[in-house]
């Protein structure tokens, strides 16, 4: 009895100090993590990933750490489809990484301009001004201050597996819609499909529609977005947008997409492309370098989605997308600024582009792209026959969400072209 009493008394006396010690240990470890993780030149970097293949951000960070052995960069990859939500939550809570991947423009939850307006981003130094392609300043500048450092120009189109295409008997990619539909049939008879679509994901369904819209809407009316902002046009009354959605449905009905496309995720794309079961997919062509390293026996190149007929202009999508910003609440701003200044240096100017497959931000009209994966779209790029991503100046993220959800609805039969366009207009005006 007495022993029990003594034990309970000792236990009772120990509870308070042990709890206090645990609480203090918890507090101090989060505090010291920032300060002493390898010296004051260390910082953390967060970016979006869609698969497990090495990301170009990782490669950039490794190169920086090799060049600067006293720096440790903590990498925080996040899943791509929820990257914007996670980033906003972290910024709001105050535990976001020091350097963050953002997107130039304003149409997505990860876009630079809304985050800058909410004072979450640090103004960047003059070193990064050299990275901004001319004409795109408004995508990363707010009230004369630069908040995002564009890493390259992303060309969005078809990532096309030449090896799988020739295995299906397709030697040169279609230049008109009719040729495209017959090539779909050719691919199906060879046991493959021409396209693979992750219909259940917003990014892929949305970018598919955006790339097709480049040929059906923006080729004729490059300033369509500005007209919509001025209230001169609507999605519902736009024959180009109607044509875009009808084309998506036409491709689906012709068997151009893989079976079950309406419910597929990103894994369908990664597996299908690397195994050669599917010939191409819609997306940022920079993904090609990642896929190439994962499947060296295939050959991934860029292709443009063909216009409706041969008399229409071939048009692509290219805009500065991936950019780096600094968290305004970061305790390691000096280290982060040094990193960005390094990335802006001329030697590194092409590094991210090379490693990621993006195009460099300057000198595009004079570049010789014939030996790169952009060979098939070199003329488009040289002549400037491209438009930025459709949603880069849409007023809010709901419009793009309505588009992507609408594409999925078209494929399952739940929505009609008219209902999708109407929902996009409703989302625009909210």
């Amino acid at each position: 009895m007495t022993q029990q009493r003594r034990v309970t008394r000792i236990a009772g006396l120990l509870v308070l100090p042990v709890t206090a010690a645990l609480a203090l240990a918890g507090c101090s470890s989060t505090g010291s993590g920032d300060a002493s993780g390898g010296g004051s030149n260390s910082f953390s970097l967060t970016y979006a990933t869609s698969n497990n293949i090495e990301s170009p951000f990782e490669a950039l960070a490794k190169k920086y750490m090799t060049a600067n052995p006293d720096v440790t960069i903590t990498l925080n990859p996040q899943p791509n489809d929820t990257y914007g939500d996670t980033l906003r939550t972290q910024l709001q809570a105050g535990n976001a990484s020091d350097v963050i991947e953002t997107e130039a423009g304003s149409g997505q939850t990860r876009s630079v301009l809304p985050l800058a307006k909410a004072k979450f981003l640090e103004p960047l130094g003059d070193a990064v001004k050299a990275m901004i392609p001319s004409g795109s300043e408004s995508l990363v500048t707010l009230d004369g201050t630069v908040y995002g450092a564009p890493l390259g120009i992303s060309y969005a189109g078809l990532i096309y597996n030449e090896a799988a295409a020739s295995a299906a008997g397709i030697t040169s990619f279609a230049k008109t819609e009719n040729e495209l539909l017959s090539q779909c049939a050719q691919a199906t008879s060879a046991g493959k499909t021409l396209f693979v679509l992750a219909g259940a994901t917003v990014p892929n369904a949305g970018i598919t529609a955006s790339i097709i819209a480049a040929t059906r809407v923006y080729a004729e009316t490059p300033d369509w977005n500005q007209q919509r902002l001025d209230g001169k046009v609507t999605f519902a009354a736009s024959p180009g947008w109607k044509n875009t959605l009808e084309t998506v449905k036409k491709l689906y009905d012709a068997g151009c997409f893989q079976a079950g496309a309406e419910g597929a995720g990103f894994d369908a794309i990664t597996n299908g492309l690397t195994s050669g079961t599917n010939i191409s997919f819609f997306g940022p062509v920079s993904n090609a370098s990642q896929l190439q390293s994962a499947a060296p026996e295939q050959k991934f190149v860029a292709q443009a989605f063909p216009p409706a007929t041969s008399s229409d202009k071939a048009f692509g999508v290219a805009s500065p997308t991936y950019s780096l910003s600094i968290n305004a609440a970061s305790p390691n701003k000096d280290a982060a600024n040094k990193f960005l200044a390094w990335v802006a240096e001329p030697e590194q100017a092409g590094l991210f582009a090379e490693v990621s497959g993006l195009l460099p931000t300057t000198g595009l009209s004079t570049m010789d792209l014939s030996t790169t994966i952009y060979a098939a779209v070199a003329d488009q790029i040289k002549n400037g026959d491209f438009t930025p991503l459709a949603n880069s100046d849409w007023p809010n993220a709901s419009v793009y969400d309505a588009l992507a959800t609408g594409v999925q609805g078209l494929l399952t039969g739940q929505s009609t072209v008219e209902s999708v366009l109407a929902s996009m207009d409703t989302a625009w005006d909210q």
Binding site: G84, T89, Q92, G199, Q408, L411
Partner: protein, 316 residues
């Protein structure tokens, strides 16, 4: 009685004789060993984390906050928008369908399994563990596995094709009609064990003598169940259905993992819409309004449930 040895507790709090300290006054009941204000830190934490946080979130329902930056007060605009939007009404319908569907199916199945296991069997404990295991698994992790099972090239379709039912094979989670039933199957699979455990406890209190007497009098299995077993386990039914309904109205993990609210919002519920609006689309005020609406609905059903349950007990 007065010559008992001092109890352990008295030995701790009652000072030794001869000390100049005043004996602390005896308080009644459980407070004998402490002071009421020892609970204050806990109470404050509950108030802060539960009530204050929820109220602040609820306040944003009356604003147009995007989640970052500044906001304006907009009164009931968000609620008007919800009621005018057919997709949100459809989401409300899905919420009620999943809630009632999961309660009814998991309770019926749980009761059936509990009755089946409520007899002496060699495998009784193993079976009980097996049926309860889904409850303790993470809903998100199991939903990803179910997603693989139901995907277009997954085991379910492979099985259907192998037995010659290939035309029934479809992308289950992307089918506008079947997606919500698939989600319901996953939810019921996970929750049946919980209902089973509650009913097993309830069945243990059913008086065996009355059942035996009824059997001797010639009542068949169904009559015995309906007139003896069921009335005796009424409290268990009340608990199981209340918990099931409140949790069913909040289902989130399974839907997000399996379909993300798709295809094209066919499986969207108030909970998933609230997340999408508040966090994915940057309409925090609108999402908060959806959350307030869901809270009101859950409160309503919880109160109704309690009233009905209490009414039944009062009858007895």
């Amino acid at each position: 009685m007065t010559a008992t040895l001092p109890s352990e507790t008295e030995a701790v709090i009652v000072p030794r004789r001869g000390g100049r300290r005043v004996r602390p006054p005896r308080r009644p009941g459980l407070l004998k060993f402490g002071y009421w204000w020892w609970a204050l830190p806990g109470i404050l934490m509950v108030l802060a984390i539960h009530y204050v946080a929820t109220t602040v979130g609820g306040f944003f329902a009356f604003t147009n906050w995007t989640g970052i930056g500044e906001f304006d007060f907009v009164g009931f605009d968000n609620f008007r928008k919800i009621l005018a939007d057919p997709t949100k009404i459809a989401a409300l319908g899905n919420t009620l369908f999943l809630a009632f569907g999961s309660v009814i199916l998991s309770n019926v199945a749980g009761l059936g399994i509990a009755i089946g296991l409520n007899r002496v069997m060699k495998t009784r404990y193993i079976l009980r563990t097996l049926f309860f295991m889904p409850v303790v698994l993470s809903p998100l992790a199991t939903s990803y596995i179910w997603k693989f099972i139901f995907q277009f090239d997954g085991p379910v379709n492979i099985l259907l094709r192998s037995v010659g039912l290939g035309e029934l094979a479809r992308p289950w989670l992307a089918d506008p009609t079947w997606a919500i039933w698939t989600v319901l199957i996953v939810v019921v699979w996970q929750n049946t064990g919980f209902a089973m455990v509650i009913y097993m406890a309830g069945l243990a209190s059913v008086p065996v003598e009355i059942e035996e007497a009824a059997a001797i009098d010639g009542a068949n299995l169904w009559q015995r169940f309906w007139h003896i077993t069921l009335p005796s386990i009424r409290p268990a039914i009340a608990i199981a259905t209340t918990l099931g309904l409140v949790n069913g109205l909040r289902i989130f993990d399974q839907i997000m993992a399996l379909t993300g609210g798709g295809p094209a919002n066919a499986t969207a519920t108030l909970a998933t819409e609230m997340y999408k609006q508040a966090f994915s689309l940057g309409n925090f005020g609108y999402g908060a309004a959806l959350a307030v609406l869901l809270t009101v609905i859950i409160l309503f059903f919880a109160v109704v449930q309690q009233r009905v349950g209490r009414g039944r007990n009062a009858e007895d």
